[in-house]
Symmetry: C2
Subunit: 463 residues, 2 copies
């Protein structure tokens, strides 16, 4: 008869100890397929357990399929017919990720935590929690909470002069999710035209989704329409308000040319407006979506730059026809943003806090940009540097007149504790005009860091 | 000379009014391409405006490309060479979505808001907000906050007896996002095997992503291995703990057979454990992932059922080898869950609140299930009904001995104010054994609703 010892003090119920013991014996082949198990009553007597304990253990083994009840004859060990390979040696722990601390990080566009409107945001969070408590658990429409879509529609009207009905807005957990939805909406068989150079995460998403891409060179007005035409692409991703990294602001004539292309070939323009909130002179520039009269523009924007990346909310506005296709083809998807964040952000926008925050951040970035440029102006090797900027956005270009290769330039920067990227990293066609050009993403820089960096430069000079 | 009237009281700056007026004249062709604009000074004098006002308007028009400065000769209207079609008639508003109120909704597995642990959750939210404030803005690893991945790893060890290192866990904004990631990880050229009948959202995602699917019939132990073998699929999605909607608990022999299939063909099992927290008798059943020694199982689960759908957090655990591929191929993706929710959930789990909540919900659902079954037992037409259930999960089947078609049965239910779905809706191969079977999703039912429903039935009877 099966004989096991039990530990009554260990906290594991007796039935579970029995279940584990029998299961191990089956796995090790001590109990063979087809073998009859002792009756519940006799095993209980033998092991000095209650019948219910044995019954529970048998029931669990039966439900998992280790043993089988046969009518009027008791329990039998089941056939575990296929042999599986033996377990692998224990996993080795992954090496911990090493993260270098930089004196100045000009590569990642981090947001300085000091600028996040914590007090307002947490007040709105608390209010959402108390006012919306049960609503928070209701399923949301796939395109997002209507309160948030209405707030975004209002913001676009006030801030960008755009007319976008809330029903055409889709809210998602970041730009990556939107890119995935767009590819599924327009199709994998399409070729997607991307700006070269450019911020090409869409290119990575296309590759991951199995869609084709065409890298279209830029001239001084943005994506070249002739190259676009020749590429055979049917969707073009552009950032006309302030191109990353060149900073080009696309003039209206080029915008209209690209729109005409979309109308002619039945294609779409994906207008990424991610950086448009931060223009330091003049009005914000009218979007392509605003001058589109044929429903060929997918407009998208994110709160990652304007509030914080960790908020994970982006949105897109689809033209009517595409919106209908979306609902039909992709309406089964659940919205990817938690209700809680959606209601909080809706209040943040419709309460006027978002536009206040943007105004404050615009001043902050304008001042910060000035300080960064002043720090560059004060550099001993200033005469080898040319700043190229358009009074907009959270980055500018710094051309370096130097015989050093881009790799060497980055290595030099690294030695000085500066993390920075260069234009040539973001191009698909190497060209001399893209070389020796650093991209200064300054949004995460603090005055203290600039101060320390200036000190370092001075000390280098003195040596 | 250009002549416009200005409204100083309207709140729009004068330079913007001038900009709008000139832009409109260009759009309407009143100002033609190549036409010279008046000098800033003369236009300012003419319109009684400051020179700076005109200068700002011209600068904005120039930056948008409506006019061009030519050196030493002033500003000229730009060539807008392509003509775009005229604007469409105004958009018609979308019809408001009509949502019927049901007496009893047995179709959507809603969560009763009264059961959500609001006070603990909001306390943890507040704590997260105060303790983690600046951390909340830091970018997270693509697989999620390590605090959350550690908490999940601990929960899986304690609650499911699973050994999953935090480094192998990927957190995402819902199961849909995980499905998308899995398809991108394993490939679009693969065929995905799906349970038939089954909860086939993965099938919809496959279709949206352009991946092939094979619907594999179930026998009484779950997915049929011979059909799976013949399908040529290389990935099989199963829910062995408690299949939706049949309720089948897959015995260990079948689990091992499917694992052997995966080892033989180099395929993968996607184990969806979404409902496993709610077994009402016995221990939770061991996962396929736990008996896998060859790294062929992708385990996934969600907090949608166990906490609330609107929380939008799901996760998967990848075997070592796939995890390495994931990081290399898809590591560019940002994590889709806001930091705030991640840190709050991490505390909810590691503080023991999650397991407390599960225990409470298990009791709640067990009692609720009993009440629903009692209500069915009290029905006048009880003898035509057979309840089929496995003491597990948030649904059970109700077979109706009736000559009515499934469509008629649903229509009858609808007349009584009951929203319900039937098994035949979830099958791809019509078979008599799937007919006349209703799926009772009872998690959102309240005792009051049951009471009112019983009243309605009694009143029908009396007529």
């Amino acid at each position: 008869m099966l004989t096991y010892t039990f530990d009554e003090a260990c906290g594991t119920p007796l039935y579970e100890q029995l279940y584990q013991n029998i299961k191990r014996d089956i796995a090790l082949g001590r109990l063979r397929a087809g073998e009859k198990l002792p009756s519940k009553r006799s095993l209980a007597r033998h092991l000095q357990l209650g019948v219910v304990t044995v019954q529970n253990a048998y029931a669990q083994l039966a439900v998992e399929g280790y043993i089988e009840p046969r009518e009027r004859s008791g329990y039998f060990v089941a056939e575990l017919d296929e042999s599986l390979p033996p377990p692998e040696p224990a996993r080795r722990p992954h090496p911990a990720e090493r993260r270098r601390e930089y004196l100045l990080d000009l590569k990642t566009n981090r947001i300085d935590a000091g600028n996040f409107p914590f007090s307002v945001w947490s007040r709105l969070m608390r209010r959402t929690l108390s006012e919306r408590s049960s609503l928070l658990l209701d399923p949301l429409p796939h395109s997002g909470a209507s309160a948030l879509r209405e707030a975004i529609s209002g913001h676009l009207r006030r801030f960008r002069g755009m007319s976008v009905p809330p029903e055409n807005i889709i809210v998602a957990a970041g730009t990556d999710v939107l890119y995935n939805l767009i590819i599924q909406l327009l199709g994998h068989d399409l070729t997607y035209a991307l700006e070269d150079p450019g911020y090409n995460k869409l290119g990575l998403v296309c590759r991951a989704c199995g869609a084709k891409t065409a890298y279209i060179p830029l001239d001084s007005w943005g994506m070249n329409p002739r190259s676009l035409e020749e590429s055979g692409a049917r969707a073009a991703h552009i950032s006309p308000a302030h191109h990353y990294p060149t900073g080009i602001v696309m003039p209206v004539s080029r915008r209209r040319q690209l729109l005409s292309w979309a109308v002619r070939c039945g294609g779409y323009i994906i207008e990424d407006d991610y950086d448009s909130e931060f223009r330091f002179t003049g009005r914000p520039i009218e979007t392509v979506q605003s001058i589109d009269t044929s429903g060929r523009v997918i407009y998208m924007n994110t709160f990652s730059k304007s509030i914080a990346p960790s908020i994970r909310i982006s949105y897109m506005a689809l033209p009517d026809e595409l919106m209908a296709v979306f609902s039909k083809k992709l309406g089964f998807y659940s919205c990817t943003v938690p209700s809680f964040e959606q209601y909080t952000l809706a209040q943040f926008i419709s309460g006027g806090y978002f536009e206040q925050h943007l105004a404050r951040m615009k001043n902050h970035y304008k001042a910060l940009r000035g300080q960064v440029i002043a720090a560059i102006d004060a550099m001993p090797f200033r005469r080898y540097l040319t700043i190229s900027e358009q009074h907009a956005g959270l980055h500018f270009l710094l051309r370096v007149n130097s015989p050093l290769s881009d790799g060497d330039l980055l290595a030099c920067a690294e030695t000085l504790g500066v993390r920075i990227s260069c234009l040539s990293e973001l191009t698909h066609r190497p060209e001399p005009r893209f070389e020796h050009t650093l991209i200064v993403n300054y949004s995460g820089v603090t005055p203290e860091q600039l101060e320390r960096f200036a000190g370092l430069i001075r000390s280098c000079e003195m040596k």
